[in-house]
Structure formats: C-alpha cells, structure tokens
C-alpha cells in the first residue's frame, strides 16, 4: 500500500513536472529552432521552373534558393531532397515504387490514395494535434477557405494524416469560350441559352470564315477525354442539371453519382443531334486535347467549354496566327428552367504526410505558416516570393505549396477596383504583376500582344469576372464526396469511368441508341456503383 502511494506521488510529481515544462514551451507557429533541423522531402519539378527561374539564375539550385534561405533564416529549417523527379506522372510512378519497397521519405506530398495506403500500413503519423498547436491563425483561416473538404479527404478514423496543399476549387469550373469576331461577322448575340448555343454552333459550322470553300469548321469542339479542363463537356452537361464525375445530393439528401442523373440522358441526346447535324467532329473520339487545340488555333472552331486559363493555352496561338481573332469566356448556359450550376471539384491534389519516426514533425506546419504568411499575410512579400514579374514560378521552389484559394479572385477584385478609381497604390502583390501584364498588352506592342491571354482572364470582360459571378450568384455545384477513396472506389471506379466514357462516346456518335444510357446506369450499379454509392453515403452521414 505504501509502495503504491509513493509510486502515485512520484507519478503525480512527474506529471506536474512534465506539464509545467510543456506549459513553458508554448508552441510558437514561427518559432526558430536553436539547432538546425534538416527536413528531407522528395519532389517533382517542371519546365516552368527551368524556364522562368533556373535559366535566369544558373547559380541557384533546388536546395539553394530564396525559399530555402527563408526557411533557414526564419525557422532554422534546412530543406533537403532525397530525390527530385521531373514531371507529375513520373513523380507518381517513382513515388509508388519507392513506397512499394518501403523507401518512405520523411516528408512527402502524396495523393489521397497513397495517403490512405500509408495510413493503413501505419507508416505515417496523425497530425491533428501538431496542426492545432502549431498552425498560425492565419494559416488555419486560409486552409479552410474552400471549406473542410481538403481536411476531410485526409481524415481516416478520425485522425488527420496529411496537411492539404490547398488550392482553388473555383478555378476549374467550366466556362463557354466563344469567338466573338465570328459572332460579329454573322450578327449573332452572345449565346445565353442552350438553344442559342446550338444555333451558334450551327452557324459557325456552316460558315466558311477562311473562305477556302471547304466545309472544315466544327460547331463545338470536344476532345476524347470528355471531362478535361479544355474542350470539356462538363459545362454542357451542367446546363442539363447533370454533373458527370462528381457526387451530388438527390431530392432525399442522399449522394448520387452525377453521371447517372436523368439530365445526362438529355445532354447525350442533344449531343447526338448535334453530331447528326455535323456540328461535332466525327473523329473526336480519337483526338486528344493537343490535336483539337491545333484545329482551334488554325481557326476551325469557335465554340467550346473549358477552364479560365484556356486563353493562354491554346487560344493565344490562335490570335497570334490570326490577329483579327477574338475570344471571350462567358457563362455556361441553361437548357432547362431549373437553376443553372457549374460543377467544381476539390482543387487540392496533394497532402503533405510525415513519416512515423520523424523527430520534428511540427517543422512542416511551421513551413506552411511561413509560406502562407510570406505570400498572403498582412505583411506579405508576394512580389518577391510568389510571382515576381521576371520569374513567375518562384513559389514552386518551396517544398510545400498551400495556395490561398481566393488569391486570383482577390487579384481580379483589386483590378476591378483599379479600373473604377484608377488608384494604383492599392494594387499590390500578384495583382500588381497582373496589372503590368495588362498594361503591356494595352500598349499595343508586339511583346505585349503575347499577353493577350492574360487580358482575356483578368481584363474588364475577363474570364475571372464570370467565375466570380458564379460564386456570387450561388451557381456552383461542389463535389459533395471529398473523403479518401472508399474501398470499392479504389478497386472499381476507374473501370466504371472507362465504361461511362465509352458508352457516352458511342451514344454521341450514334453507334448506340440513346437507351444505352439506361443500360449504363444499370451496369454502373451492378458493377460496383451500388456499393460505392452506399460507402459514399456512409461517409456523408458521418461528416454531416
């Protein structure tokens, strides 16, 4: 008995000692380590870094540059890389093999599937406590700007296993890109309904703008991967209240797969009619985005659905080739009298995970703090660290890149304000860089003309205005399933997606009857879609 009480007293004393020490070491989000802490990452790189940064700074390397200097000077954190690979697909390939042989880097950016596998294999550590303790208030705010979905996707059994490198969800919503110089030539208005879109497509297809006497213009361009960010069909389907590839609520509040909604059938039917009328390239099923981009550049197409950046690629080449060409992004159009919504998806593609035995896991949270604070905080130096005019990709030098999801909206709003009051002093950070581009374009110089694509995004009737309009009018349909991929999803979803694309393509081309869609819905459910739907709803109920 006595022994026990001594033991208890001792235990109590130890606990108090420990808690007092912990209280002393209050986590400081920007605290500098006394001893240098080396963090080992792996990463991918790309041409933009080579072209925009390393070519101008040949003495700099991936581990010796202003971002690494910043982490060293502010946190005493030394960034090192176990390996660097060029290209996103190559990164995934190599990482999968490295993870397969148990070669887990200390800190690594992974996708949800890799995160799930690592968490289930108990190789990475839960981060929720560290994140709560060390993330600055501003970091916490920015990270939640697109809702909790980036965190939900990395939460398994109640533990957060990865820090989301958050990114915008809005930026991937579809817009309708139209060649306005053709509209003017034909005296047509900017299409605002599906009927007008069809009429415009028909008029474009029939017209012979290049006067070569050959009927070689398509009405509306689509590419074989159907749901890309360029020559997409998402915006078209959205007009019919169909949301391919994402999960949405049905009238009972249950999640359903957007491709199986009844509106999909109407959209496919309309597309087939367009095909019959010769408004769609009969070879679209074998043409990838690059091929269709060639045709668009050559002036064979004046209408398609795609993302806001399409003016920079590929439309810039189109106007380079034909100086009279002009494009504009407008809102997607409704085909019914139901409310119109443009679909989006989780913009976050990578989560930073930490190997189980790492001594200073909080270092990565501090890096998140520094990255976000330097780029978008109250005393930001965005013009130096994020996108200075002479080296736009400089932010990619940081191993972690949580992006302020609203940064482009904010920049656009700042520019709008500037267009109203002409007060340049308020235009700072990224907005300033963009303003310089707009001015260069307006100067009419040849170099400036290369920035036409930027003007189409951030100019007065630019693409961003339409996106912000979507947001303000509540016209966005988010993907409501944002968890880690479920079990059946992991094993079946890619097969089901292939099936979907095949059936849809065949229906458009008239190789299958429109009733093939009903069969597709049955097949989808029979081949795993039903189980996936159940799993997804289970998840949905758990986060509600």
């Amino acid at each position: 008995m006595k022994k026990l009480s001594v033991f208890l007293a001792l235990a109590l004393a130890l606990t108090m000692l420990a808690s007092c020490c912990l209280a002393e070491e209050k986590p400081d989000p920007f605290g500098k380590y006394d001893e240098p802490v080396t963090v080992h990452f792996v990463r991918s790189t790309d041409d933009t870094l080579d072209a925009n940064f390393f070519s101008q700074h040949p003495d700099k390397t991936m581990t010796d540059n202003l971002w690494c200097d910043l982490y060293r000077d502010t946190l005493n954190v030394i960034v090192d890389y176990d390996w660097i690979v060029k290209g996103g697909d190559e990164y995934d390939q190599k990482l999968n093999i490295a993870l397969g042989v148990g070669d887990i880097p200390e800190f690594v950016n992974v996708n949800t599937l890799q995160l799930k596998q690592l968490a289930e294999a108990d190789l990475i550590m839960p981060l929720e406590d560290i994140y709560d303790a060390y993330a600055s208030d501003f970091t916490k705010k920015i990270m939640l700007d697109t809702g909790t979905s980036p965190f939900d996707a990395a939460t398994i059994n109640g533990h957060l296993y990865g820090l989301p490198n958050v990114d915008s969800t809005l930026m991937i919503a579809d817009l309708l890109w139209v060649r306005t110089d053709w509209l003017e030539k034909l005296g047509l208005p900017i299409p605002t309904t599906m009927e007008e879109v069809l009429a415009t497509a028909e008029a474009f297809a029939k017209a012979d703008f290049d006067g070569n006497g050959v009927d070689d213009t398509v009405g509306m361009a689509i590419a074989k991967d159907l749901w890309g960010q360029l020559f997409s069909l998402r915006g078209f389907f959205n007009g019919f209240q169909s949301y391919p590839g994402i999960w949405v609520e049905d009238e009972n509040g249950k999640l359903v797969y957007g491709s199986t909604l009844p509106g999909t059938k109407d959209a496919l039917k309309t597309l087939h009619e367009m095909y019959e009328k010769g408004l769609i390239d009969p070879e679209f099923g074998v043409k990838d985005g690059g091929k269709v981009a060639e045709a668009t550049t050559a002036g064979k197409c004046g209408l398609f659905y795609g993302a806001q950046w399409n003016s920079i690629y590929p439309l810039q080449s189109c106007v380079n080739l034909d100086k009279d060409a002009q494009w504009r992004a407008v809102s997607i159009v409704p085909a019914t009298d139901q409310p119109l919504k443009a679909q989006t998806d989780v913009g976050t593609l990578h989560w930073t995970v930490v190997r189980k035995d790492v001594e200073h896991p909080e270092a990565v949270v501090k890096m998140f703090n520094v990255f976000i604070d330097k780029n978008w905080g109250p005393n930001n130096e965005n013009g130096i660290y994020y996108a200075p005019l002479d080296s736009e990709s400089i932010w990619k030098l940081s191993p972690v890149v949580p992006t302020n999801p609203n940064k482009n909206n904010d920049a656009f709003m700042v520019l709008e304000q500037y267009r109203k009051d002409g007060d340049e002093s308020k235009v700072t950070g990224e907005a300033y860089s963009i303003l310089q581009k707009l001015k260069a374009f307006e100067s009419g110089s040849e170099d400036g003309f290369a920035l036409w694509g930027w003007e189409r995004i951030y100019g007065a009737d630019g693409a961003y205005g339409v996106l912000i309009d979507y947001q303000n009018k509540g016209m966005l349909q988010d993907n409501l399933f944002v968890g880690a991929p479920t079990e059946t999803m992991t094993s079946r979803m890619s097969t089901l997606e292939d099936l979907q694309d095949e059936v849809f393509t065949k229906i458009i081309l008239g190789e299958s009857d429109i009733d093939a869609f009903d069969k597709f819905v049955d097949d989808f459910n029979a081949l795993g879609g039903k189980d996936i739907t159940e799993e997804v709803n289970e998840w949905y109920a758990s986060v509600k």
């Binding site: 790309d46 041409d47 060029k86 996103g88 190559e90 060639e294 002036g299 189109c318 080739l321």
Partner: protein, 294 residues
Amino acid sequence: MVESKHWASRLFVVLNYFILGFLALSCLIPLIHIFAISLSDSAAATGGLVVLWPVNFTLESYAYVARRAAFWHSMLVSVVRVLVGVGLNMVFCIVCAYPLSKEKDQFRFRTVYAWYFFLTMLVSGGLIPLYMVIRQTGLMGTFWALVIPGAVPVYNIILLLNFFRQTPRELEEAAIIDGAGQWRIMWQIFVPTSTAALATVALLSTVYHWNEWFNGILYMKTPDQYPLQSYLRTIVIDMKLTNMGANDWQALALVSDKTVKCAQIFLASLPILLAYPFLQRYFVKGMVLGSVKG
C-alpha cells in the same frame, strides 16, 4: 513464254520498288515532318499548318535549344552512357559468348551455364525487386545505375554465341598448334573474324542505351542527371487534361511550344542516325572466307 516471264519479272521489280519505297517513305516522312516543324513559326506549328515544308521559316527554336543547358547536359550524359554502357556490354558479351560457344568436350558444363543465362530472359525479378537491388547496392542516384543493371545483355550473348560457333574449328586448332592460349584465340582469332556480328551487337546496345528512358527517371536523384531520352520524355509527353492541378496549365502552355519540342527531338535522333553509316562498313561479310582452305 519468254514474254510472260519478262512481264512477271517487270511486275516484280515495280512492286518491289513500290513496297520498299513506301516503307522507306513511311520511315522518312515523320522525320521530315518533325524537321519542318522545328524550322517553322510557333503559331503555324501549333495550328497544325506545317506538313513537310517549313511555314514562316525561322531558326528561333534551334537558337532557344542552343541556350538550353539542360538539353546539352543530358545529351552529354547520354553520350557517356553509350560509351561506357556499350563498352561494358561488348566486353561482357564477348567473354560470356566465347566459352559458351565451345563444344561439350572443351567446356563440360557449357549447357548448365547456357541455361543459367537463358533463364534470365524468360523470368525477371520485376520492377520492385530490381529497384531494391539498385538501392541496396548503393547504385541509386549514381551514373552506374544506368549501365550496370543492363551490363550483361543475354540476347546479344546468344547472337554472338551462335556466330562464334560458325567459325571453323580448324582455325582454333591451328592457333593451338601455334601455341596460342584461349585468351589469345578469343581476342586475336574470334573477335577479328566476327566484326559483322560484333557490329550488330554494338548497334543493338547503342540503340538500347540511347533510347532507354525509364531507368533515368527511376534511379537518378535529380533531373540534371537524366540522360537525353528521360529528359525528352518530360517535354513531349501529353499532359492529361482530366487530372490537372489548378496551376498545371502554366506547364502546359510552356510545353506546348511544338517547334522547340521538335527541334529537340530532331537533334536527339541525329547521333543515332549518324551511327548507322559508320557501323555499316563492318557489316561486310566474308571475313572468314579464305581463311580455311580445304
């Protein structure tokens, strides 16, 4: 009768020219197409207006590539890889093929060894075990990871082995009588009389080392260690439009510069094109002819 034979042989010749010409063109046209694009204006190339003749001729893309250090650096890596890799291949190939080409009475366990090599052609460890071997032998991230794993090309050994066996045994016997040992016979009799086969084998392994790209991506630590084809792979691959990040378009806009792409592809294929004529002269057969009278 003579008439019809004449007619048939003429048809044969015409068809021959037609088919061979078609084959030759189908090899040549893509190359000319790429060359034409590389000499064209960027916008014209992106618009798909270039076929076989440059549109708005410009050397801009070559000027750009000339300034691109990464391209020349990986070209250098590839050249060194070919020199070292092919050198190793040839040495291992010869020293393996020579004993295996002997008859059983000269080399008793010949069959066992031959099967030992042959088995590796049928079954391989696969990607993950190979990666583990590379990692645990400390080759990861070094240049040697590009040449050592493929240093013993079994297919080439079998090619060479069969060629060695056709060398008349009398030559070897004559050499033995003159007092030559096996090393001397191998290097001074077999190798010089097998230049045609050796040239074939050298060409095969040159092409392998020049074109192989996956090992570069998998085993190198940083992109500046990439051989040329791994580097090219990162610039020519089509980006998937469906799973792009919000900022990936920047890379797409940059990579889409078709003229620069084509200039690099053309420059990359030049050395291997030039290698053919130089190896061609070794394909002269008949070296053995006249060495044995009987």
